[in-house]
């Protein structure tokens, strides 16, 4: 009895792999019990269900995205630290090849798809409707579904660590290595199916925000009067809609190979393994811009706000973003110049890649000149935005160096490449979301984050970041390739690797200090009673902090770029009383109802996904049937909206001091 139980444990829970797995098991069980215990003790189950799990409010969904992104940052960061621990010294035996392969695979996948993406989507959920003067997104119900699909996909991906084993073919999951012949466990299935599920959610988000921005702007806000962050999200949404279906198809093809014996990417039977690299990067390169353009949007807002000056070159900013979006679909081959597609193909893709530097450079100089003749205020949010400029520049310019195809033959897959993409993704996306977090936090929670602790977190993280990734450029030139689980002594790689590991610990410390800042600020809140703590320029600062459920009691009228700034500083007139709400204009507000279905459908997706991963069709197929039933019932749901009465609005606005 005990023996067969242990056998089951070995088969499904990898108990034979030793203490690391056992510790994880115990920690997971304890954490889950802890959460359940706290919720029960504080009698918060009802609150959790009514206020959060069933909500369709874009602000709450945004907050949940960001909380999940933080959790995933922690997981992905731990993976990163484990990688650095293994590589700190030559010939290290801390991890074996198999475990190391799993760790770098989950590090990359989580950081891109389950950290960067939800963090960006979280910020866009919070800011976009408020910036355009809307009461919610175009499809609030779909928005909730997007979130829960992401959430359960992330959960599904993460449980692979303790149930069945993590994927181990790299976040790029190249075939045929990731195909059924070379990767026999369930790990790769976890990768394929959880990415598939979160991808569906992301496509829905893209459609949702495209429609929201095109159809729901306040009167007077033409496209060329939109805030730059909203512009960046519009462009990002379009990229998502074009790029993510490619990922969906690609993942499905490899899934057919793995689950049903198809031969799309196999070595034998006429499969074409190199096609995977092409398809993956046709999605993968635009994906890079999906996570970087919103960060560009954040920087535009933050630099302009804290220079107390208009954004320099608004039109050029828009045009360059659109140019980047178009070019992003024409450069995918630069990820594998070394596949030897021929001189003409490589020359073309070298050129198209270098071209991206032009619009990016335009944006860089526009940010710099936004500060020209401004009054720069060094808040934490601004520090992240400022640090972006030199650090991202290094990443971007080494990107141009990598675009030189013949030189790339020497950089490719070396630590030079690893350094490059960490410089663009951390200095771009991560600095961007941190900047946005400090910037919009008051709008989310009604208090600002402690600036002193925030600045400590910034300096620790930023300096450590350079310590971690700058040496990698040199290691690459010294011949160290990525994804090596260990390296011999005597090549001179040891000291640089040690510096990197110390840097990585510093980044971990910076993250902890930032989390401490959040905890500290919640316990000692510095309340934002004005709704406009930064002397902001766009509409989200014209309403109270935190934003009321319906966002705007009266939809504002927009007269130009930086609508709220114009209300505060009208030309040739006395300033209008900008904060007061005109009581006579208040009408009942039409809002969507909460719904439990997005949550249930996503749980069903999770169950179905788990079934397909293990090829337990008795579980997978019923799961999918529940999904279909959920969608079917949604089609016949007619009573899904309500009105907020004038009295309630007056009450809320009076409490916020607006009436």
């Amino acid at each position: 009895m005990l023996h067969s139980l242990l056998q089951l444990g070995d088969k499904y829970f990898m108990w034979n792999e030793g203490p690391m797995i056992w510790t994880s098991d115990v920690l997971i069980v304890l954490t889950s019990l802890g959460i359940i215990g706290v919720l029960t003790y504080l009698k918060r189950w009802n609150w959790l269900w009514k206020e959060w799990l069933t909500t369709v409010d874009h602000k709450k969904i945004g907050i949940m995205y960001i909380i999940a992104a933080f959790a995933m940052f922690f997981r992905g960061g731990m993976d990163g630290l484990i990688i650095r621990a293994q590589l700190a010294v030559p010939n290290n035996q801390f991890l074996n090849a198999e475990h190391y392969d799993q760790v770098f695979t989950t590090h990359g996948t989580i950081m891109i798809l389950f950290m960067a993406m939800p963090f960006i989507i979280g910020l866009m959920n919070i800011a976009v409707p408020l910036q355009i003067g809307a009461r919610d997104v175009a499809f609030p119900y779909l928005n909730a579904l997007s979130f829960w699909l992401f959430f359960f996909a992330a959960l599904l991906f993460n449980i692979s660590f303790v149930i069945g084993g993590s994927p181990d073919a790299g976040w790029t999951s190249y075939a045929p290595l990731a195909g059924p012949f070379y990767d026999t466990g369930v790990g790769e299935n976890y990768y394929l199916i959880s990415l598939q599920i979160t991808g569906i959610g992301t496509i829905a988000t893209g459609i949702n925000f495209l429609v929201t921005i095109l159809k729901m702007r306040a009167p007077g806000m033409t496209l060329m009067k939109m805030p730059m962050f909203t512009w960046s999200i519009l462009v990002t949404s379009i990229i998502i809609i074009f790029a993510f279906p490619v990922l969906t198809v690609t993942l499905a093809l490899l899934m057919f190979d793995r689950l049903f014996g198809a031969q799309f990417f196999s070595v034998t039977h006429g499969g074409l393994p190199m096609m995977w690299a092409n398809l993956f990067w046709i999605w993968g390169h635009p994906e890079v811009y999906i996570v970087i353009l919103p960060a560009f949007g954040v920087f535009s807002e933050v630099v302009s706000t804290f220079s107390h000056k208009r954004l320099f070159g608004y039109k050029a900013m828009v045009v360059s973003m659109v140019a980047i979006a178009i070019l992003s679909f024409t450069t995918w081959v630069h990820h594998f110049f070394t596949m030897g597609a021929g001189a003409s193909v490589n020359s073309f893709f070298s050129f198209s890649t270098m071209l991206i530097a032009v619009p990016t450079g335009v944006k860089m100089f526009n940010w710099l000149f936004t500060m020209y003749k401004g009054r720069i205020q060094f808040t934490t949010s601004m520090l992240w935005a400022l640090a972006f400029i030199p650090n991202f520049l290094i990443g971007g310019l080494t990107g141009v160096m990598l675009a030189v195809a013949p030189a790339d033959y020497q950089y490719h897959n070396s630590y030079f490449l690893v350094a490059h993409f960490h410089y663009v993704l951390i200095a771009g996306t991560v600095f961007g979301v941190f900047s946005g977090l400090y910037y919009w936090w008051p709008k989310m929670f009604g208090h600002i984050l402690n600036e002193k602790i925030g600045k400590w977190a910034f300096w620790i993280f930023m300096i450590s970041f350079n310590m971690t990734f700058m040496p990698m450029y040199f290691l690459g030139l010294m011949g160290m390739t990525r994804r090596m689980y260990t390296y011999p002594a005597g090549l001179g790689w040891g000291p640089l690797n040690m510096i990197e590991t110390i840097g990585a610990l510093g980044m971990g410390l910076g993250f902890v200090v930032m989390v401490y800042d959040i905890v500290y600020s919640i316990r000692h809140p510095e309340k934002d009673l004005t709704g406009d703590p930064w002397d902001g320029r766009t509409l989200e600062w014209s309403i109270p902090s935190p934003a009321p459920e319906y966002n705007f009691a009266v939809i504002p009228e927009v007269k130009g770029i930086d609508a709220y700034w114009m209300m505060k500083h009208p030309k040739g007139q006395e300033p209008e009383p900008t904060k007061a709400v005109d009581k006579s204009k208040i009408r009942p507000i039409h809002m969507p109802n909460n719904s439990y279905r997005p949550f249930i459908i996503s749980v069903a997706f999770f169950v179905a996904g788990f079934g397909f991963i293990w090829q337990w069709y008795w579980l997978g197929i019923p799961g999918l049937i529940v999904v279909v039933i959920g969608l079917f019932l949604r089609s016949f749901e007619y009573d899904d909206e309500h009105f907020i009465s004038t009295e309630e609005i007056v009450q809320t606005e009076t409490a916020a001091g607006r009436l």
Partner: protein, 284 residues
Amino acid sequence: MQFLRKRWRAVLIFALSTLMLSGCGKIVVLNPQGPVATEELHLITWSFGLMMIVVVAVFALFAFMLIKYRAKKGSKIDYQPEQEGNRLLETVWTVVPILIIIALIIPTIKTTYALVKPPSTGTPVVIKAVSANWKWMFQYPGQGIETVNYVVIPANRPIEFQLDAIGPMNSLWIPALGGQEYSMPGMLMRLWLQADHPGTYVGRSANFSGRGFVHMVFNVIAKSPSDYATWVQKVKTTAPAMTMADYQKLTAQNVVHTMTFSHYIKFFGPRNNSMNALYRAPNS
């Protein structure tokens, strides 16, 4: 701030001195040992130089803005909150990057086309490099011999590596001699390299191919033409011919030591080597 600036400097000095200690001579890409690597280094230096122009310009502007326009109490500096653009400036920073890219793309295209041709006029030596998880097999069709996990080449003659793979993709990279190219199953590729002098250089697979990937390291031994001829003769007369058992061991998924054969069996059968997958470390 003062404290932080000091710390920055300390970090920088520490990093630089460690780099010096670790020996610049070990930055193999910057010390090319053959015409291909030299040509690639030229492009690396050229692109680095062009990029430094941008770095200097942006860093200088960045520092200028931060110092001059930071908000101070009672500051009387020029403050123009409504300034929204400047056509001349915007044209400058669109045109200058385009010029830089033109300066970069021309040599890039030239070299890209040059590298698909032999690097020099000598008679090329053809070596078929086959990756099979997790080892490199080097077959010499002209000589009929095969080496495993090391390769001997004559110095000063162009080497035509024909890349093939059994199983997943790998990448043949000998940084001292030049850049890499993928080895792919069923897709024969060609990589031209050449060594200027006799010597030993390190090569490895640069594309992740599973658990044993890190063991796909090999030495490239460049010999003078006469030494090379002697070596070929010696292999032909003293090394064993490849047996069927050797063949099976080599095409299976495993890690092996260096080997030498006076005669090799041409590759046949499925390009999958996972059927008899047995992972063995080299010292087991």
